[in-house]
């Protein structure tokens, strides 16, 4: 997957490139609007991350250039201003998502993956699996090692989210928004509690722990290396 990052702040640009590269993407970085627009229209990318405020040509103009060139690649905006007008303008011009600075890198990564997934409507599996954990979406049933695990509706939704995005570190804000539809910063520890309880049910009695806390980033469900 190839991503174009247009960001004039060199420190931000460098860490975005490093972070996305280490997450497995191929990243091109442009430091100004002209280079950005040139790359966006001459090369082929799966997604573009654009800063709004850029020297030369701003993010909006790059987006217009991309859409005029007939490309419908997903575009994620980074903006320092959380103005409603900016949001409305971005959406009118065909932006797919936006993030307000300062943002958590895990949040950006999660959004990028969501946008990339949106394009490729992968087959909807009825049963999600990780190691010996199985989540049957149709029958609303969870089992581990063949043992039935009782989950509340929210625990089920949380586990489904973690399983669907196996290996991705999910920030608390994303979990709160996807599972409880809480789309604002909250200073409660609800997500921590929910993850802890889920762990108690699916991990505590088992040798292989699937759900991990990544300090400062969020939570991830993955199968540790060396296990089947």
């Amino acid at each position: 997957m190839k991503i174009l990052v247009v960001e004039d702040e060199s420190k931000t640009g460098t860490y975005l490139k490093q972070g996305l590269s280490e997450a497995g993407f191929v990243v091109d970085l442009a430091g100004n609007g002209f280079d950005g627009l040139h790359l966006a229209t001459s090369e082929s990318y799966d997604l573009a991350v654009l800063d709004v405020m850029l020297p030369g040509i701003d993010g909006w103009q790059i987006l217009q250039g991309i859409r005029r060139a007939g490309s419908d690649m997903p575009v994620l905006f980074l903006t320092a201003r959380d103005q409603i007008e900016d949001r409305v303008k971005g959406l009118e011009l065909g932006a797919d998502d936006y993030l307000v600075k300062p943002f958590a890198f895990s949040e950006l990564l999660a959004r990028v993956r969501t946008l990339l997934r949106r394009g490729s409507k992968s087959k909807e599996a009825d049963v999600l699996r990780a190691a010996d954990l199985e989540l049957d979406l149709l029958r609303r049933r969870a089992t581990r090692g063949g043992r039935r695990i009782d989950l509340t509706a929210k625990e089920f939704a949380l586990l489904e989210l973690l399983l669907r995005r196996q290996g991705e570190v999910l920030p608390r804000s994303l979990i709160a928004s996807q599972v409880w539809d809480m789309n604002f910063d909250s200073d409660t520890n609800v997500v921590e509690v929910a993850v802890r309880r889920l762990r108690a049910k699916i991990d505590d009695d088992f040798e292989v722990k699937l759900v991990r806390t990544v300090r400062g980033m969020g939570y991830v469900l993955d199968v540790p290396e060396g296990t089947a």
């Binding site: 307000v100 809480m182 200073d187 409660t188 520890n189 509690v193 929910a194 300090r215």
Partner: protein
């Protein structure tokens, strides 16, 4: 060209005053002049009609042609000593029976046409330039069957005209002088009248950012300016309040940022002072991220509050059924409540107009605040109630009673009733300030009361 609003008040008032007094004086001068002239005309009419009557009587006494021949002599005798008087008697056939020497009458007055009206004499000038005023009348003679004679009487009005010209000159000179004088007086009066404004200006000049507590003295201000002074003082009070809040805010901000930044710096420097294992580095980075997240959330919250105070947060308006909205929030917070064995319930219903995301955020902040401050095993209740034209949402928790002096300040940024709890966990100290910003942006209000171990935060919205 200067706009009216910028022109000097002194200049405008002086010009107005001078114009008005000049107009009044001019009208008065004209009136006096005409009255004096009219008086002279009436005097002349008196004299002229007297002479006309005399002539008429003499003519009426003439019973025959011979009597008629004696008339000139009689008239001469009667008119002797009347300087400047001209009398002419013309018979019907144009024959001039009598004329004083040098008598000169304008054509229309004697021959043909209707004879002059006694009340409206005519004025003219003779060939030598002497101004005259005269009247004429048809007068019957004593001779039966004889047509009426025409009698013209005129008087020299040189004297009157000279007097009038002198009088007018004096009058207009006086008017001009009085107009200039009143303009000058007006200017002085306006200057004096505006002096209190100058005084206010000097007082205002002394008010600076350091002296915002100063106010304009009301007792030294004339009645007309009291309103202005009161308004200015109210403005100063608002400015002082905003200024104080702003400077409090800056110092709060510096204080709130100092702790996490200093933690980050110390921690990182200690880590860098020698080589560590990757696990140690990972630990410190993760701990740093937690601090950064706190700072970043604080910045976002501060921006939100700043925008709200600026009136730049405009909530969308949709009908919000509060019962399901609160239900979702209660479900979200239940996990945190259960951790503390806190019972979390909601009751009642009501609908308001508002922004779903913002209202959820406000009530969510109240819930997390209530759960945080409830003791283990306590209870948090949300109750929604219609009250007249309002809808009230109460979030009540059992916990320590908050002293009443803290209650109104709970909604201030970074205010914590218990100073020892500052910096606790990820709690930014801005949650309740955001609640107030949101509620006020919706035109509602938020109050807190606390008694006997029960603390309630009440949001009031118009329906």
């Amino acid at each position: 060209m200067k706009s009216v609003g910028r022109a000097s008040i002194t200049l405008r008032l002086t010009a107005l005053f001078a114009t008005v007094s000049t107009l009044v004086l001019l009208a008065l001068g004209y009136l006096i002049g005409s009255t004096v002239e009219q008086h002279f005309v009436e005097q002349d009419i008196d004299v002229l009609s007297g002479k006309l009557d005399l002539t008429q009587r003499i003519l009426e006494k003439a019973r025959s042609r011979d009597d008629l021949l004696a008339v000139p002599q009689q008239l001469d005798d009667a008119l002797v000593g009347h300087h400047g008087l001209s009398v002419v008697v013309a018979l019907q056939d144009g024959e001039l029976l009598f004329a004083t020497s040098g008598a000169e009458f304008p054509d229309g007055l004697l021959s043909g046409g209707p004879v002059g009206d006694v009340a409206h004499p005519r004025a003219w000038r003779t060939a030598r330039g002497t101004p005259m005023r005269g009247i004429s009348a048809s007068v019957p003679t004593g001779i039966a069957g004889m047509p009426k004679a025409v009698v013209g009487v005129a008087t020299d009005i040189t004297h009157h005209e000279q007097y009038l010209a002198g009088f007018r000159l004096t009058l207009w000179a006086f008017v001009a002088f009085a107009a200039v004088l009143s303009g000058l007086l007006g200017w002085l009066a306006v200057r004096r009248g505006l002096a209190p404004l100058q005084a206010m200006k000097r007082e205002a000049e002394n008010i600076t950012a350091q002296r915002l507590h100063a106010r304009l003295a009301l007792d030294a201000v004339p009645v007309e300016l009291v309103d202005l002074a009161v308004t200015l003082n109210a403005m100063l009070a608002r400015l002082e309040d905003s200024f104080r809040r702003l400077s409090d805010f800056s110092s709060d901000l510096a204080h709130e940022f100092r702790t996490p930044i200093s933690n980050l710096m110390t921690e990182t420097q200690v880590m860098l002072s020698r080589t560590r294992s990757p696990d140690e580095y990972r630990d410190v980075l993760a701990s740093n991220v937690e601090e950064y997240e706190r700072l970043s959330r604080m910045i976002a919250d501060m921006l939100f509050i700043a925008k709200a105070e600026d009136g730049r947060i405009v909530p969308t308006r949709e009908t919000l059924e509060l019962a399901p909205l609160v239900g979702d929030l209660v479900e979200f917070h239940r996990l945190a409540a259960e951790e503390k064995e806190v019972e979390l319930t909601s009751e009642g219903e009501g609908a308001i107009q508002g922004d779903r995301l913002m209202i959820r955020r406000a009530i969510s902040n109240l819930l997390s605040n209530a759960i945080r401050h409830t003791r283990i095993g306590g209870r948090v209740t949300v109750s929604i109630r219609r009250n007249g034209t309002c809808v009230e949402v109460d979030v009540t928790n059992i916990g320590e009673t908050i002293a009443s002096e803290h209650l109104p300040r709970l909604f201030d940024r970074f205010y914590r009733a218990d100073p020892s709890r500052s910096g606790e966990g990820s709690h930014s100290g801005l949650g309740l300030a955001i609640v107030r910003s949101i509620v006020e942006a919706h035109g509602g209000q938020v109050v807190a009361f606390s008694a006997e171990g029960m603390t309630t935060f009440r949001l009031t919205f118009a329906r």
